[in-house]
């Protein structure tokens, strides 16, 4: 049978899903064990035991200096910044996208501007943010906002344009004004799309967050990783990276579930 026609059954699929992860872990721990037998003080590939010690230290024992639990404090700070940044971006992106995508008079000046703005590399203007907004929370949140708002706005503008003109005409024959048309027809149709766009920019948002924390911060997951880098503390860095990945994946999954629960009509309407 041709490869293109062969489908895995359920158990095989499960096996195939697990396989690459298992292989990666296997390769890592084999390499780690080999390096540690050659040099027990090797720091590059820490063993599972070393990493779980580090996790216990960071997550489950009080920090002597601050009296808190470092991992959870870092997570809370980072997630707060991420949530504020994503929230503001989603709101601005939605407004700009709707304005540019539904109202031709707004689209004319906004569309080209958004295209140009989305080409500005956000990390290149990070120094400007630090100069303008100082080294506090604001500049970190602003980096996320500046980085992903143009992308969200452009995507939503495109989706707004894809709403069939028939629906906009129909709404007008049902007595809608521009405002109520946006409120009852455009906005509800764009909300599920916003959740999808948010999932897609989640990776960028984390990138900007960690970049900002690495450069100027006093806590946060990115800050911690760059701090312990000075001591080659791979036993801390690797669990942190896994933890960040897990958080990002959970957010992605959460947004997907939210989209499915809140907008049950969306999947059907697309097919």
């Amino acid at each position: 049978m041709r490869l293109i026609n062969r489908h895995p059954d359920r158990p095989t699929r499960l096996l195939l899903v697990i396989l690459p992860f298992a292989l990666l872990l296997c390769a890592y721990f084999l390499g780690s064990a080999q390096r540690l037998t050659e040099n027990p003080n090797d720091k590059l590939l820490p063993s599972a035991a070393q990493m779980s010690d580090a996790v216990k230290r960071m997550a489950f024992s009080e920090d002597k200096r601050s009296g808190g639990y470092v991992l959870w404090q870092d997570s809370a700070s980072s997630l707060r910044r991420l949530a504020i940044g994503l929230g503001i971006s989603a709101l601005i992106g939605l407004c700009l996208g709707i304005a540019a995508g539904t109202l031709p008079l707004f689209g004319a000046p906004l569309s080209p501007l958004l295209v140009v703005l989305s080409m500005v590399p956000p990390l290149a203007i990070l120094p400007i943010l630090f100069i303008v907004f100082g080294l506090g929370e604001l500049s970190k949140v602003m980096l996320i906002v500046i980085g992903i708002t143009p992308i969200l706005a452009r995507d939503l503008e495109q989706r707004a344009r894809e709403i069939p003109v028939e629906l906009l005409i129909k709404a007008q024959t049902l007595g809608a004004s521009t405002w109520t048309l946006i409120l009852r027809v455009v906005l509800p149709q764009l909300l599920p799309r916003l959740l999808i766009s948010l999932r897609l920019v989640l990776g960028s948002a984390w990138l900007f967050l960690i970049a900002a924390e690495a450069i100027a911060s006093e806590d946060g997951l990115g800050y911690r990783i760059f701090l312990v880098r000075r001591y080659l503390a791979m036993d801390v860095i690797l669990p942190y990276v896994v933890w960040i990945t897990l958080l990002a994946w959970l957010m992605d999954w959460g947004l997907k579930q939210l989209a499915r629960r809140a907008f049950p009509w969306y999947e059907g309407a697309r097919s």
């Binding site: 024959t173 049902l174 009852r184 907008f263 309407a269």
Partner: protein, 265 residues
């Protein structure tokens, strides 16, 4: 005075003339079917009536007044596709027409007024045979049911004219027959003026009280867009039906059982 008066209407896009020199006079309550080859301007004429486009020359009068230049609640419309809102249930799709004009700020009614609107919408949906599907989203309805929904949605506004752009073009022949019956029943009850674009000549003949054929009279092979279409045939049809309609309109108004949210007083 005629209900709709079309005075020397031309429509062209740049050098491309689509319609030329249309002159028509249409009485209230007529069921006009528009037929013709693809690209002959019948849908363009419908868009002019709808207010989606403005005529390059000439004017269209409704009761002696120029038509509003944008779509409004006096003109209902059903397209072949994308006529209903995918994010609203069947009930909300119809109730929307009651909510939008009454709630300029929120676009939705609340409490008691919302319940009344939904009851009216439900009554109309029962009328068009969708009583069992009030809570379904359009994607869960078949093509024919979606068009029933679109018709109900247009009628809840009690428009003065109903514009149909190949509404049954995508439906199976059997379903199409049912839709014809439904449409004629509704037309008799509401005494609406209907304009229906169709590709199906027999549909045009069987439904309409007046059939208009769009075609190009002049063709220049070197400049295919230099001349537009005119109405080459304008046939009165089913005269008994139109007479019955007139009698009904004049004498039986009081005897008719009004349907909530449908009749057109």
């Amino acid at each position: 005075m005629s209900f709709i008066q079309v005075n020397n209407v031309w429509q062209q896009y740049g050098d491309h003339v689509v319609l030329e020199g249309l002159n028509l006079s249409i009485a209230e309550g007529e069921f006009c079917t528009l037929v013709g080859t693809s690209g002959c301007g019948k849908s363009t004429f419908l868009r002019l009536l709808l207010g989606q486009e403005r005529a390059s020359r000439g004017q269209i009068l409704l009761d002696g007044q120029p038509l509003a230049a944008e779509p409004d609640p006096s003109r209902g419309v059903v397209f072949q596709r994308y006529s209903v809102f995918p994010h609203l249930s069947a009930l909300d799709n119809v109730a929307l027409g009651l909510e939008l004009p009454r709630a300029p700020l929120l676009g939705r009614l609340l409490g008691q007024r919302k319940r009344v609107a939904r009851e009216q919408a439900a009554a109309l949906l029962h009328k068009v045979g969708l009583g069992h599907a009030l809570d379904k989203y359009p994607a869960q309805l078949s093509g024919g049911m979606q068009q029933r929904l679109a018709i109900a949605q247009a009628l809840i506004m009690k428009p003065r004219m109903l514009l149909l752009d190949e509404p049954f073009g995508a439906l199976d022949p059997g379903i199409r027959k049912d839709m014809h019956t439904l449409l004629l029943d509704l037309w008799r009850e509401t005494r609406l003026t209907v304009f229906m674009v169709t590709h199906d000549l027999s549909e045009g003949f069987s439904l309409g009280t007046r059939l208009m054929v769009f075609d190009k009279v002049r063709v220049d092979p070197h400049a295919p867009y230099a001349y537009g279409a005119r109405i080459t045939y304008d046939l009165p049809l089913n005269s008994k039906r139109s007479e019955a309609q007139a009698v009904l309109a004049n004498s039986l108004t009081s005897a008719l059982q009004p349907i909530p949210g449908l009749t057109h007083e």
